[in-house]
């Protein structure tokens, strides 16, 4: 168990770190240094694109997901809650190659709905950041629903009643109780969506292919496969490390925020 983790998880990460931090000292040897991280500047476009797609995508997903989860909780139907919980947890794990295929067929340039929705006239292209944002919603919205639904369901009835009997309006309830309790969960969900959008590779790789619209994940994959540019592999490892760092921050923040909300809903 520990051995497996060591061989297939910790060692690879260590290897990645060693490659990322090692630079040749000019005599064929290797020393530790930060030069590989300097080359990240050349890949600024990929980082900027990734951040942009993740920011827009996670904002849209968090908004729609939160509203939907809120409405589902309002309906107060036990069965619906259960079905949604299961479905959203399944869909939250989507994002593989088939997802990209289904979107190419639907709103790609020759897709079924491309002409019908008049996407051409509004200048929408699936093979750009807009397309990525639309496609990512397929797993971002379910993820948000999965994270926030328990919070909305858990906003207790007694609190509503206590608020009413103390003379508060619906507005007071949300301002004083609902929002403060739900806010950490909503923010945590949004951060989580950002992280998962940022880390997505498979569906983006199938949709964009190589080179058309650089993203961090696609750049890593390209550099690893081809090694066309000198120092490509080292740069890929450095990029990989930055991704790990971002993911750690995302999960840490998410857990903290979840706990803030859970304190009230336990």
């Amino acid at each position: 168990m520990a051995l497996l983790l060591a061989c297939f998880f910790l060692l690879p990460l260590l290897g990645m770190a060693i490659v990322a931090f090692s630079v040749s000292d000019g005599q064929g040897g290797k020393t530790l240094g930060l030069e590989n991280f300097a080359s990240l500047a050349d890949r600024g476009q990929a980082i900027a694109n990734s951040v942009r797609v993740s920011l827009v995508g996670s904002a849209v997903g968090a908004g729609i997901g939160a509203i939907t989860a809120f409405c589902i909780a309002q309906i107060r139907h036990r069965r619906l809650d259960d079905v949604v919980a299961v479905l959203s947890s399944v869909l939250a794990n989507d994002g593989g190659a088939p997802l990209a295929f289904s979107f190419i067929v639907t709103i790609g340039n020759t897709g079924f709905l491309f002409a019908a929705l008049g996407l051409d006239s509004v200048g929408f292209s699936l093979y750009s950041w807009q397309g990525l944002v639309v496609m990512y919603q397929y797993f971002l919205i379910p993820t948000m629903i999965m994270v926030t639904l328990p919070t909305f369901v858990g906003l207790r009835r007694e609190w509503h009643e206590a608020n009413k009997s103390l003379g508060g309006s619906a507005w007071t309830f949300w301002r004083r109780v609902g929002i403060p309790v739900a806010a950490p969960a909503l923010l945590g969900g949004w951060i989580l969506l950002f992280g998962s959008a940022y880390a997505t590779h498979a569906s983006a790789a199938v949709l964009i292919g190589t080179g058309g619209f650089p993203l961090v994940t696609l750049t890593i994959a390209d550099e690893l496969r081809s090694g066309t540019r000198a120092g490509g592999e080292e740069a890929a490892m450095a990029l990989g490390l930055t991704m790990v760092a971002i993911a750690v921050v995302v999960l840490f923040l998410f857990n903290r925020l979840q706990r803030m909300s859970a304190r009230w809903l336990a």
Partner: protein, 290 residues
């Protein structure tokens, strides 16, 4: 309470449902109505393509070994921690949750760095040999190891929760008094008692192996998703047909897994830690994706 009028509340729900359903419907239509008339010709690739058959077989083999290795390492570890070292449980939990933190493409980069280092040591050397063995195209053990690690966060939670619902100590003591060995106890007594989590692990592992693209593609291993990507450049309609099937299969497996996991909790309350999905109570994260 700000109760929205009833029909209005369904608007966002239906809109999201529509958004989720349309791409699936379009894919099915694209695969089965080439040129406007119904035909299943796109599915002929299923029987006619030698590469798909071998990719499917390879992926199945990887999945089978992954699940066996996963259960053989994880169940005894969790049982041991529950029985003899409850203090170590948090440590095990942290270890098992770590893989959630690393995006799979970054893990792929790390794996490649190791394999290349091994290969650079020369063909005859021990690291070189290991590197070659792990990347054997017929049975890429490197994928098995990596997939076991990727499954850990989800399966650990499931098995851990399953063991907590049974009187493990009493069972094991009874079994030992009656003369069973430790392995015999685990195999004959503990495993049947956590059938739900075990089933969850099996379904989940299979779904992951059939859905994972990033690592397999980066390591140029021909699993089903990688084959799908390759064939999409020559026969797009066939790749759509297979993609639809693959997607539905993966979802079905995940649904089965979730249902299997929720069986162990007979009465479920959604707002406590007893949720249907073991991954839900903790940090959900993408698995088959990215």
């Amino acid at each position: 309470m700000a109760r929205l009028t009833s029909p209005l509340r369904w608007v966002p729900i239906l809109a999201v449902a529509l958004y989720l359903a349309v791409p699936i419907i379009c894919s099915i239509a694209f695969a089965t109505f080439p040129g406007g008339s119904f035909s299943l010709r796109a599915f002929e690739v299923l029987t006619g393509d030698q590469n798909l058959a071998s990719a499917a077989l390879r992926t199945l083999t990887i999945a089978a070994i992954t699940i066996v290795v996963l259960l053989l390492t994880l169940v005894p570890a969790v049982v041991a921690v529950h029985l003899w070292a409850p203090r170590l449980r948090p440590l095990l939990e942290v270890l098992c949750t770590l893989p959630l933190v690393v995006p799979s493409i970054a893990l792929a980069a790390g794996v490649i760095s190791l394999l290349r280092w091994g290969a650079s040591q020369g063909r005859g050397s021990v690291p070189g040999q290991i590197s070659q063995t792990l990347q054997n195209p017929d049975l890429p053990l490197i994928l098995v190891g990596t997939y076991v690690v990727l499954c850990l966060p989800f399966t650990f939670r499931s098995i851990d929760a399953g063991l907590r619902t049974i009187p493990l100590k009493a069972i094991v003591e009874g079994s030992t008094i009656l003369g069973a060995s430790t392995w015999g106890t685990i195999w004959r007594v503990v495993l049947p008692n956590i059938a739900g989590p075990v089933r969850f692990s099996a379904f989940f592992g299979t779904a992951l192996c059939f859905g994972e693209f990033s690592i397999a593609a980066t390591l140029s291993q021909q699993t089903v998703p990688v084959w799908l990507f390759t064939v999409s450049q020559t026969d797009f309609r066939a790749s759509i047909a297979v993609a639809v099937l693959l997607n539905l299969t993966t979802w079905a497996l995940m649904l089965l897994a979730t249902v299997a996991a929720s069986r162990m909790a007979p009465t479920r309350v959604i707002d406590d830690s007893n949720t249907a999905d073991p991954a839900q109570s903790a940090s959900p994260e993408k698995v088959t994706a990215s």
